[in-house]
Amino acid sequence: MARIGVFVCHCGTNIAGVVDVTRVAKYAGSLPGVKVAVDYKFMCSDPGQNTIIDAIKKYGLDRLVVSACSPRMHEATFRRTAERAGINPYMVEMANIREHVAWVHSDDKELATQKAMKLMEMAVAKVRRSEALSKMFAPIEKRALVIGGGIAGIQAALDIAGAGYKVLLVEKEPSIGGRMAQLDKTFPTLDCSACILTPKMVAAAQDPNITLLTYAEVTEVCGFVGQFEVKIKKKAKSVNSKCIGCGVCTTKCPSKKALSEFDEKLAPRKAIYTPFPQAVPNVPVIDRTACTFFLTGKCKICEKVCPTGAIDYTQQDEFIKEKFGAVVVATGFDIYDHSNYGEYGYGEIKDVITGLQFERLISSTGPTAGHVTRPSDHREVKNVVFIQCVGSRDEAKKRPYCSRVCCMYTAKQAMLLKDHYPETQAYVFYIDIRSAGKNYEEFVQRAQNEYGVLYLRGRVSKIYERANKLLVKGADTLSGAQVEIEADLVVLANGFEPKKGAKEFAQLFHMSSDQYGFYNELHPKLAPVETAISGVFVAGCCQSPKDIPDTVAMASATAAKVCALFAKEKLEVEPLIAGVNQLTCSGCETCYNVCPYSAIEMKDKEVKRGEVRHVAEVLESVCKGCGACVGACYSKAVDLKGFTDRQVLDQVETATAPITDN
């Protein structure tokens, strides 16, 4: 027989001002199984909790009902109280007589009191059916997978490795470095992007705890926190480990048809190539769609010139399967494609370029070796118009969000232009300047005041192609005038959008994404780097557009989360999860189909002696306790701990029965 204690809280006058708490307590005392029922001013206070602990000891209680505020407020508190007194923490139920009674039924104290009695009685009915539950533990594979070798992935990998854990860093491209490697200088300090990034790339390559896997993609994921099993495709590089990175093959390769991804298609690249000179690892790959040998069966020049015999045309894609305890997703972003901006020429005007293309143009390692010339005729430029918010803050293009960095990089680029070519004039069309960040506003001010960049608040209505010139028509809303600028080059501040295939990638992990495809964090404020899938963390622009410092901070945050997870001996699992009674399971796979977490496994199992049946089993460390399986199971074989059918039914029965308070 249960020994229940009922504790009714006054919450000062919050409850007691409306509900007759002594009557509630008295009624509680008359309920079967209730050994003691008391009311007290503040149950959650130290003396309040001590009252509970004393009562537990004095009456040998094994279950508690606290009639007070919302369980969302203090359930955890009273569970700890119970634990302190030696009762299983899951033998505690709360009756919410503050938010759900006193505060909402203050207009009739009698009805409020009756409802409080009822809710308390329902909690008693539920706790009577409660079972002692204990936290469960699952093993952790102390090895992290970092997906994406941009600055976010590199930083996360370095931090995790620094704590002594092994990391596998997977990058799709032949080299790590990501978007940051494409940049010329970084705001607001104007230091060289490569100068600050390259050391990190090298550090990642040299760290004994980090394994680099470039030109590789994650293709399959199963398992769960602590025990992810990930299948990775190592794309055939056609270059084997004998390569010493001398670069002769690249120099001699005759194919120039492909366009360089790294240079944003402003320049051709060879069929055997490293994306950029500082590539890590410095091992070229053959792009089989461009290679003359793979296309025609003739050439093999690279094989002939290679001093180490590292070229291997027969290499095949290879799949590896490895186990990880945690995953950091840092898959980055794409630049918004402005080809559906008709007013800017549908992406067909050669001298209307993206911000990232401008980075390559002005970068000394770029296709023009830092000379800003027009892509169409390679003439030097005089007037350059920058247009902000292309694919950002634009409802019509279904990109209403702000990409956060464009104001800054536009200012940076305008300044760099002036630095390189003092005789040029930069014009910037903007909606608002968003320069929140340390030294950011000052930076923009500098662009305007010291560099004479002309800021025009308004949109460009159309770019007209004239012979050798671009006529940019727009509005300056501050002066109210129409503006026409004869420009040599127009640079669009393209916003950020999710990487192509981001949604499909999310499905590998069952992660959710927002309407644009950016990955959803678990909580926008309090869990910004976690995802709904425990053990999977997000860093950088795959979650939302952000600048380098924020990306790095976020990456380090994921590393901290991973390390915190790995620091534990074993994984603690909340016991409020589903469980299958396999004797009654009919094996229809309904639960298996509805589970949002793939926490159900179907097995052929001997459920009774001599009787092997196809039955469901809950993977305890994966289950989140949502109960979708319970709601769907018509065999009534699944139940949810903490919200069992027995508990709910008894609550229902109590809720509908009259009060026998006399």
């Binding site: 004797l583 009654t584 399971c585 009919s586 094996g587 229809c588 796979e589 309904t590 189909n593 509805v594 179907m602 196809h614 769907a632 018509y634 065999s635 009534k636 074989a637 069992t644 059918d645 027995r646 039914l649 008894d650």
Partner: protein, 279 residues
């Protein structure tokens, strides 16, 4: 037709393609048949097929899960096989479906054709591995007019109607036990912890049993009428099973046992599902 059927089964048994053939044989008088389980070629002579073969033999698939079975099915029984395969109760390779062309069956209690035989579009079975005989499908499509007619009643009238029906119910569970999709190893009705259903037999308790059973078979019931025919006190369960079929069709455009690839309506969803009056 009997001869053709017997020969086919004889062949399947002789070639050891199946362990059991489940068909029909004559029962206690010329107006009744009962399920026959045949294991040897010599025994096939008792198999018959006529207009009294009302039982849905698909029921036995879940009871002989491990065997290879040849099952004689009327066109209206085949959805049951599909549904059970879909629900992983039986693997399709283990059953050879022998479709028997049927011109409608007769209910032994009334001597009349049950409702399902009117406007039947599967007199000539569809989806069988072998088919015996030929029959002409009805050209008019099935309709839900009778259910729609009942739906017009006020909720009070409906309540009274069912109260009167379930007053009669003796909770013999014949409806449940002949139902092919009521295969749960331990029916909720006989659980004690928690006690979903009281053992007490009274109209209210009986009604709850039927409500829950109907809910549990929603999207799975193929409206085969086995429960309706089995009821010893003639409760018109067809009015309920047909309602399920109607709702599945109207709410989710789903037909149980029709499409092997369609997900059961309650174990899937669409982000664009209608709000159905949810506030």
């Amino acid at each position: 037709m009997d001869k053709e059927l017997q020969d086919l089964i004889k062949k399947l048994l002789t070639e050891k393609k199946v362990d059991y053939a489940i068909g029909y044989e004559k029962a206690y008088d010329e107006f009744s048949t009962r399920p026959a389980f045949v294991t040897s070629a010599e025994d096939t002579a008792r198999l018959i097929f006529n207009k009294y073969c009302i039982n849905n033999l698909g029921l036995y698939l879940t009871k002989l899960k491990k065997n290879k079975i040849a099952l004689i099915c009327k066109g209206c029984d085949i959805p049951t096989v599909r549904e059970l395969v879909k629900e992983k109760q039986f693997s399709r390779e283990n059953v050879i479906v022998i479709g028997a062309a049927c011109d409608g069956v007769l209910d032994k209690r009334t001597g009349k054709q049950p409702e399902k035989c009117l406007n039947c579009g599967v007199k000539q079975p569809k989806g069988a591995d072998f088919t015996v005989g030929t029959a002409k499908d009805s050209t008019t499509a099935r309709n839900f007019n009778d259910v729609a007619e009942f739906e017009k009643k006020s909720s009070k009238e409906k309540m009274q109607f069912w109260d009167r029906q379930f007053e009669k119910c003796i909770r013999c569970y014949a409806c449940r036990n002949v139902c092919p999709v009521c295969y749960c190893p331990d029916c909720f009705a006989q659980r004690s912890m928690p006690e979903y259903l009281n053992k007490n037999v009274d109209a209210e308790e009986n009604k709850m049993f039927h409500m829950i059973r109907m809910q549990h078979v929603f999207g799975r019931c193929t409206d085969c009428k086995a429960c309706d025919t089995a009821c010893p006190v003639n409760i018109p369960l067809t009015l309920l099973t047909k309602k399920l079929a109607k709702d599945a069709k109207e709410l989710f455009n789903y037909e149980s046992g029709a499409d092997m690839d369609a997900r059961p309506p309650l174990s899937t969803y669409d982000e664009d599902d209608p709000e159905s009056g949810i506030m």
